[in-house]
């Protein structure tokens, strides 16, 4: 197991043509923390995540993941999980789970072992390994996406609305599984979401971004006890109060 690392986001700005997407974003993500980014659509939360991943170059400021300043994509500290799963439709679940390792030049035996291990972690061992994505449900596809991210053993998971296109029932199960994985694996997680319940249920802190230009509007601590998946936290009064507090913040921003 690798030690988790923190992420320092310092005065990050990004402009797309006429749109100022992000202005002076300052966020310190602690090592091993579960942080949620939330905000109205167009607040630049996905852009910020892509900046951390190095897929989008920030215009100003800097981002440090662990001890490495982000200059481009391909950093080994962090893995991305995508809203649309981003699975190769022509590859089986196992081949998809191996893909990150394949691109990093890992030998075939190591890839196969890591992929199998990662698929088992997300609950997809056995017969599903040879299925193509089109043969899997949305929930299972995202499990493959998560297995691919875990197979390279990253210290950070960057998740872009990972459960947004999954039905409510499956989403809750996946959220619980993610919490369980997170407590076992001790990874730093940055989760972009538009669901207030999801942000409160999963994270230690919620960063609320304001739209156009995206700025850090508020940071909300979530002092709910863990392990939340075992404590039935969703049913408690404190959970409802925090979701409402977040809603009040978001509502005033409109």
């Amino acid at each position: 197991m690798t030690e988790p690392v923190g992420i320092a986001i310092e005065r990050v700005s990004k402009r797309f043509a006429a749109v100022q997407a992000l202005v002076d974003i300052d966020i310190q993500v602690k090592a091993g923390e579960f942080l949620a980014l939330i905000g109205p659509s167009g607040c630049g939360k996905t852009t910020l995540l892509k900046c951390i991943a190095g897929l989008v170059a920030a215009d100003g400021g800097r981002i440090v993941v662990g001890s490495r300043t982000v200059t481009g994509p391909g950093g080994r500290e962090a893995s991305l999980v995508f809203q649309d799963f981003a699975l190769l439709p022509w590859a089986t679940a196992r081949e998809n789970a191996e893909f990150g390792l394949l691109l990093r030049g890992a030998p075939a035996t190591e890839r196969a072992a890591a992929a199998r291990h990662a698929l088992a972690k997300v609950g997809l061992a056995g017969s599903f390994e040879d299925a193509y994505p089109s043969q899997l449900s949305g929930g299972m596809q995202q499990r493959v996406g998560l297995a691919r991210a875990l197979a390279v053993n990253p210290q950070v998971l960057l998740m872009d609305e990972p459960f947004a296109s999954i039905d409510e029932q499956t989403r809750r199960i996946l959220q619980d599984d993610l919490l369980r994985l997170w407590s076992q694996e001790r990874k730093t997680v940055v989760l972009v979401t538009h669901s207030m319940e999801e942000a409160i249920y999963l994270s230690d802190r919620v960063v609320v971004l304001s739209p156009r230009p995206g700025r850090v509007h508020r940071v909300l601590d979530v002092p709910l006890p863990r392990p939340r998946e075992a404590l039935d936290v969703r049913a408690g009064a404190e959970f409802a109060r925090l979701v409402d507090e977040l809603w009040q913040i978001l509502k005033k921003m409109q």
Binding site: K50, R76, D84, L88, F99, L103, R104
Partner: protein, 252 residues
């Protein structure tokens, strides 16, 4: 998820029934002896058998198929290569897109006299005509396939450190493969058209020469026999490419 389009054979059961119906109507019309230009199906079949057994068909089809291969193989290789490059590089696309689209819909038979002036009267002209007829549709389909690659797949591969070569081999090419194969299938059918047009215009070699000859000498059953043979060649080409599609795109 069940795909809307499942692979189907070129002729389904209803298609075969329709062919049988057409043959019956054709036979009846022929037997009525309305005009010499509509010989009965059985007369055409007899003429076809005669051409097949006396070697005429093999000789002309052999020459035709050789020209077809000489034109289509380079068209496929260069068309896919150019299509991939155009799909990936915007500048190239901006320079060439208009030309490719114009030439795809242009009446290319008008260019055959120019080709004759360039290459002389021979099978090179036919191969060049085949190339021109099939090249552009392959380019356009390949370009479209590359352009249709999911943005998130590219982001995903880059996030794991994929460079330009890895992106091409592992994302763009496999993502474009179904469109490339469709382009090749349409291109193969176009190639057969090009073959016949080229051969008819120079009227010296291949099945096109036979068409002109039998047409001019009013050997109508023989003319129909050659037309049917050309159709069979086109069907065969499309079927071969379709078999490749099924073998290569198993994941759909």
């Amino acid at each position: 998820m069940t795909p809307l389009l499942t692979p189907e054979p070129a002729f389904g059961r209803a298609g075969l029934a329709a062919v049988a119906g057409l043959l019956i109507v054709w036979e009846i019309l022929g037997r009525l002896q309305l005009t010499i230009f509509v010989p009965s199906a059985s007369t055409v079949a007899a003429a076809w058998w005669e051409l097949l057994t006396n070697g005429t068909l093999a000789r002309s089809a052999g020459s035709s198929l050789l020209s077809l291969a000489k034109g289509f193989v380079p068209a496929a290789a260069l068309g896919v290569a150019l299509g991939l490059a155009m799909g990936r590089f915007r500048t190239l696309r901006e320079v060439l897109d208009g030309w490719i689209n114009a030439l795809m819909s242009a009446p290319l038979s008008a260019l055959v006299p120019v080709l004759i002036a360039l290459f002389g009267l021979g099978d090179t002209v036919v191969a060049a005509t085949v190339f021109l007829f099939s090249f552009f549709v392959i380019v356009v389909n390949t370009t479209t396939g590359v352009r249709g690659t999911e943005r998130s797949l590219v982001d995903m591969a880059r996030s794991y450190g994929a460079g330009e070569a890895a992106l091409f081999a592992r994302i763009y090419l496999p993502a474009a493969l179904p469109a490339i194969l469709l382009g090749l299938r349409l291109g193969a059918v176009q190639a057969v058209k090009g073959m016949v047009v080229g051969e008819m215009l120079i009227s010296l070699i291949g099945m096109g020469e036979r068409l002109i000859y039998y047409g001019n000498t009013f050997l109508i059953p023989e003319l129909y026999a050659v037309i049917v043979s050309v159709l069979l060649v086109a069907l065969l080409c499309a079927t071969v490419v379709q078999a490749c599609e099924r073998a290569l795109v198993r994941w759909k």
